[in-house]
C-alpha cells in the first residue's frame, strides 16, 4: 500500500473559525480505498475538519497544506472541491423548502458530470438512479418530490445524505457523525450503504464519537483526535480500546482532551 499515491494528505494544518484556533497541527494521509475512522471527544475539532476540507465560509486556514488527488485543495472553491470528488455528509443537513430533492440532485449530478467532461444526465436516467438509491437507503420515493430535507426526521436526513453519495460517486466521503441520532436499524442501513460503496478507488473518513458504527463499517485505521490534532492512531482494535476505557484514558498519555461545544 505504501507505494500507492495518496488521495488526501493533510500536513500540519492549523485552522479555525473567527480567531479561534481549533485544528492545531493536524496530520492525516489517506490512500485510495482506505477507510479511516476519526474518533474523539466533543470539541476536539472533528466537525471543523470536515468544514475546513469542504471550504466552508468563515473557516480560515492559518498554515499547513492539504493535497487532494494531487491538487492543492485549499485553492479550490467549495463546489470545485465537490466536483473534484470530495463529499461531506453532514451531521445536521440543512432543510431547503422550495427546492425539490430531484431538482437538487439533477443540478448536483450534472455539476459533477460537467466537471468530468460528461454530458448532463437525462431526467429519466436521473429518476431511475435516484429511485434505485432511495430504495437502497430505504427512503420513500415521495421524498424526491419534496423540498430538500424538508420535514425529514433526523434519520431520514442522514439517509438522504447517503443517497446523494450513492448518486455522486465521490472519491472521498467524509461522514460527519452520520451515526448520531440513529437507531440500530438505521445505523445498519447506513453502514450497508457505505459498505456497498467501498471500492479500491473510493476512500472514507468516518467521524464518530462512538465505536458502534465501526461494528458495521470496519475501518482500516482508527485515529484519535483531541484538541485539534491526532494523538493516537492504530487499527480497528483502537476503537474497541477507546470504547472500553473512554477518552479519559488518553489523558494518561498526557493528552488533554478539551471538552468544548
Amino acid at each position: 500500500m505504501s507505494n500507492t499515491k495518496s488521495l488526501l494528505t493533510i500536513k500540519d494544518l492549523y485552522a479555525g473559525i473567527e480567531e479561534k484556533q481549533i485544528l492545531k497541527g493536524f496530520n492525516l494521509d489517506i490512500k485510495p480505498g482506505e477507510v479511516h475512522a476519526i474518533m474523539g471527544p466533543n470539541g476536539a475539532g472533528k466537525s471543523t475538519m470536515g468544514y475546513v476540507l469542504s471550504g466552508r465560509d468563515g473557516y480560515e486556514v492559518e498554515s499547513g497544506s492539504v493535497t487532494f488527488n494531487g491538487e492543492n485543495l485549499l485553492d479550490l472553491e467549495i463546489e470545485e472541491r465537490a466536483n473534484a470528488g470530495l463529499f461531506l455528509a453532514f451531521q445536521y443537513p440543512v432543510e431547503i423548502p422550495g427546492v425539490s430533492n430531484l431538482e437538487f440532485l439533477k443540478a448536483s449530478v450534472d455539476a459533477v458530470r460537467a466537471a468530468n467532461g460528461e454530458e448532463a444526465i437525462t431526467s429519466s436516467e436521473l429518476l431511475k438512479q435516484a429511485k434505485a438509491a432511495c430504495k437502497q437507503v430505504n427512503l420513500p420515493l415521495a421524498f424526491l418530490k419534496r423540498g430538500v430535507n424538508e420535514g425529514f426526521s433526523g434519520g431520514e436526513k442522514k439517509r438522504n445524505e447517503l443517497m446523494q453519495m450513492l448518486l455522486l460517486k465521490p472519491k472521498l466521503c467524509i461522514l460527519d457523525e452520520t451515526d448520531s441520532g440513529l437507531d440500530i436499524d438505521a445505523l445498519q442501513l447506513v453502514a450497508e450503504g457505505v459498505n456497498s460503496q467501498r471500492s479500491p478507488d473510493r476512500s472514507f473518513i468516518i467521524v464518530t464519537h462512538y465505536q458502534r458504527l465501526l461494528d458495521y463499517i470496519k475501518p482500516d485505521f482508527v485515529h484519535v483526535l483531541a484538541d485539534g490534532k491526532i494523538v493516537k492512531s492504530g487499527d480497528a482494535s483502537l476503537a474497541l480500546e477507546l470504547e472500553s476505557q473512554g477518552y479519559a484514558w488518553l489523558e494518561n498519555g498526557n493528552v488533554e482532551a478539551k471538552i468544548e461545544e
Partner: protein
Amino acid sequence: MSEWLESAIIRGQKIDDWLTPKRTQAIDLLSTTPWPTRKTEAWRYTSLRAIQNSKAKNIETIANLLPQNITDLSAIELVFINGQWDKTQLPDVLPKGLSISLGSDLNKEQQSQALANFSDIKPKRHLFGLVNDALAQDVVIVNVEDGFNIKQPLRISSLLSLGAESHTRVQVTLGKESHLAVIEDVKAEGDSLCTAFVEYQVSAKAHLEHYRFALQTGSNVAVGGCHFNLLDHSSMHSTIVAFGSDLSRLDTDIIHSGEFVDAKLNAIYLLDGNELFDLHATVEHAMPNGTTEENVRCIVAGRSKAVFNGRIHIHRDAQKTLAELNNRNLLMTNTAEINTKPELEIYADDVRCAHGATSAQVDKQALYYLQTRGIDRAKASVMLNFGFINELIDLMPNTVLSEWIRPIIRNRFSAMEVK
C-alpha cells in the same frame, strides 16, 4: 377630482337597473372622496397616473376571446369579455348544488337578497371598489347550497380586448358546510383597464379554496379586490400570484365574522422591467378563536416596484386569536423597489401574533450545502431564490394549478433582468 373619476360618476348615474340603490350610494361616496395623491396613505407608493392617462373605453360588441389555457384544468368557466358575461362558455349543466345567474335575471325575492348582499362585505374605503359598484356591468351571482362539495373549480376570467375598459363583479355565497374552489384571473391586451371585484360569503363550516392570478402585464391597468366574510368554523385558503403591469393593484379583506375561523393567504409577486404590483391585505379578527396565516413573498428585478401593506386588526373581543404575517422580499437589482408595511393593531389581550418583514438575502447555510454538492454559487443562488417562491407554490392545494404555474414562474424568473 380627476377627469377620469368625474366621467365614471356621470356614466354610473346613467345606469338604471336593479342595482341602482347601491350604485347611488357608491356615487354619493365617490363624489365626496378626494382623488388619491401621494399623501393618501392607501396610494402612497402607487401612482394613479396610468388610470388618468388611460384611453380605454367600453366596447359594446362581444369579442371572440377565450381564457388562457390551463393545461389539464377542467373548470366551470365564468367568462367576462370586456365586462360582459359570455354565457356560452358556461357548461349547460352545472354540478348539483351550484347555481350561477345574472343578477338581473333573478326573481324579485332573490334580487332583493342579492341587492342587500351587494357591497356588504367589501369595505367602503376602497375607491375603485366604489367605482366598480357604480359601473359594474354584468353582475353574476354564484351560490353553493348548504352541504354541497363542488368538486370542479369555478374559474372567473376577465378578458379584455385592446383598448377595452371593463368592470366585472361576482358575488359568491358558500352555504353551510359546503366547499368550493374559485380561480380568478385576468387576461388583457394592451392599453386596457379593468376593475374586477368579488365578494365571498363563507357560511358556517364551509371551506373556500381561492386563487387569484394577476398575470396581466404591460400597459394593462387593473384594480381589483377579493373580500371574504367568514362565519363560524369556516375556513379559506387563498393563493395570489402576481406579475406587474403599468398599474396592478389588489385589495383583499379577510373578515373573521364568526368564531374558530381559519384563514390562510399566500401571495407571490414576481416583478420585472417597470412593472408595479400593489397588494393591500387586511385581516379583521372581529371574533375570538380565529387563526390567520399570511405569507407574502416578492422578487423584484429591473426597475420594478412592489408594494405590500398587510394589516391585521384584532378587535377587543377577538381573544385567543392566532395571527401570523410574514413578508419576505428579494431585491435582484438595486434599481428595483420594495415598499412594505406590516401593521398589527391589537385590542385583545389574550392573543398570539407575529409579524415580520425582511429583505431576504440568500440563506448562507443552504448556499454552502448546495455548493458542497458541486453546484456553483451563481446557480445555487438562482435555485434558492426560485425555491423562495416555489415554497408557496408547493402549498397550493390544487396540483393541476401548481404544475401549470410553476414553469411559467420559472421562465419569468430566469428571464429576469438582474444587474
